[in-house]
Amino acid sequence: MSAVDASRVPATVDRARSRRRARRRNSRSALLFLSPWLIGFGVFTAWPLIYSVYLSLTDYDVINDPHFIGGQNYVELFQDPKIALALGNTLFFTVIQVPLHVLVALVLALLLNRAGRSAGVFRTIFYLPKMTPPVAVGILFLLLFNGQNGLINTVLGWFGITGPAWTTDPAWVKPGLILMSLWTVGASVIILLAALQNVPDELYESARLDGAGFWRQSMSVTLPMISPALFFIIVINTIGALQTFDEAYTAFFGSGNTTYSNDAALFYVIYLFQQAFEFLHMGYASAMAWVLFALIMAVTAVQLIVSRRLVYYEGETDR
């Protein structure tokens, strides 16, 4: 017995050693495959994050070296009336746009879910606007919402309504931009439709057997089952709305606009962009970026906390 054991031991050690060597070779190959991302993360994410913290504490105009000024940018930021304006515009846009976006997407997805064979054609039509370059969407906004002879006001006129001057009246600029943004709900429609189609028919059948009507089925089956998808599009669109830029910038900013005031369309990222690349206030803009980051994190965190109570994930504790 002992003789057999003795002959076995070296073999086991050998195998273990070769396995360890194989594993080391394995992780070296893994590292090779991960290297593009590791380099990219270091150069274009980690370093920029650290450097932008430093920049936010300096006065920097690209031409001269950064000049350390401590927290002064942040102090100035809270006294800058344009920050208050931009923040107000952005929050107004977000608070109204996101619920409307979700509502419109949900209605379209519910209709598509009942459309049977023709759903594909309609889905294509609803998604196509999402393919349009945002610059073109901004241009379409200026044209369709033109106060005098734009399509929207022409149609309103058929019903005897005199439409507002969407593109020039400060009170109507944001509502106009919000309406225009609803044209591009396509991606959310697809996400919600996929979620709706994933609800097993059995759930509706047993709900019906229990005597649940349409309303009760919607509230007790549909809504909980699609709540993860709903939550996802709410979070993603909130983050997107807080960073709104392309359409409003195209329609109201840039070198061309000398015609009218664009204060009503000054969203936070537009002001950040101006500070950084038009006024070359890189330090101040970096501070602005961190304030935006904090705002987005705070909003997302609140949404996550609220979602714990409202979002139903299949396969979790309760059955």
Binding site: M131, E202, S255
Partner: protein, 319 residues
């Protein structure tokens, strides 16, 4: 995702297999049954509300499609008729297309955009696939943490890294060239890494182990076996990036200075500045350029509709 597996049964098998009998025990079985029923068109589609639903969908489709129709129609109208809101131009003219070609270096913008889009899409797809393979195939210490880091970068608002990233390209003397518009894609992108990794995880591992036993190098297993099998997921990444970089405005605004280097969205914005509220009010030129900017995306959509729908809904369900 099972339907995308190379070894999965063809769709027809659903009808040939006897329906599962006896009590349904797992969620998977419930889903499978619901899915196979969906294929067989359940009676639910002969709903009495059906005509109402179809009518609503048709009306909404007109609302969603009309801005496109309006835009295309307006591009064939003479200057004075752009805002007449007629469906069919009263006087049909091709002049706008000729004028826009003469007034702006549109051909150059198109070439620039094609180059940037092609480079961006190909590099990001290959690099993301490489990284995805590193995460999908290899087991190494810290894998979970690193992958979590990849996912975390998806949440990071672009504004935070925008300024230091600009400073990097500025230090490299690349500002004013097209390089900053695509070169970051050499390092992979979180969403695509996630998407392709999910797909690779579902591929049969035996295949790769067999290739290893046959003496294939790690790189050959990736390049010759894993990559061709992952083609559906690669197509999703490719098409998404084509759209993203074709329509990107922000980077073009930051990095491009001379109008010979402009991409189409940046050029379109410069046309708005020059011919829109720049005082000349030549909207017919802007409208026509918008059509030229948008049509390639419509073509891309019809070529890659399946991939787009898949990518959008995968992002929604798993994100």
């Amino acid at each position: 995702m099972t339907h995308a597996l190379p070894h999965s049964a063809p769709d027809g098998d659903y009808e040939m297999d006897p329906l599962p009998s006896g009590p349904l025990t797992t969620i998977a079985e419930v889903r499978e049954r619901a899915e196979s029923r969906g294929r067989l068109r359940p009676e639910r589609h002969r709903h009495p509300m059906r005509w109402l639903i179809m009518a609503a969908l048709v009306v909404l489709s007109v609302v969603f499609a009309y801005p496109f129709i309006w835009l295309i129609s307006a591009s064939f109208k003479p200057r004075s008729d752009v805002f007449d809101n007629r469906l069919i131009p009263q006087t049909f003219t091709f002049d706008n297309y000729v004028t826009v070609w003469q007034q702006a270096p549109l051909a150059l913008w198109l070439v620039n955009t094609v180059v940037v889009t092609a480079l961006a899409a190909v590099t990001v797809t290959l690099s993301s696939a490489m990284v995805a393979w590193g995460f999908a195939y290899f087991r190494f210490r810290g894998r979970g943490f690193l992958f979590g880091l990849v996912l975390a970068t998806m949440m990071l608002p672009g504004a935070v890294t925008m300024i230091p990233t600009f400073l990097i390209w500025n230090a490299l003397g690349m500002v004013g060239t097209l390089v900053p518009l695509w070169a970051q894609n050499l390092f992979g992108s979180a969403f695509y890494i996630f998407l392709i990794r999910q797909f690779m995880l579902a591929l049969p591992r035996d295949l790769f182990d067999a290739a290893r036993v046959d003496g294939a190098s790690q790189w050959a297993v990736f390049w010759r076996v894993a990559l061709p099998l992952s083609r559906p997921a690669l197509a999703v990444a490719l098409i998404f990036e084509v759209q993203a970089s074709w329509t990107d405005l922000m980077r073009a605004l930051i990095y491009l200075r001379d109008d010979t280097t402009f991409t189409v969205p940046r050029g379109l914005k410069s046309l708005v500045d020059a011919f829109g509220f720049g005082g000349e009010w030549h909207w017919e030129i802007i409208v026509t350029a918008s059509v030229i900017a948008t049509v390639p995306m419509i073509v891309v959509f019809f070529l890659g509709q399946r991939q787009i729908v898949h990518g959008v809904s995968a992002g929604g369900i798993k994100g």
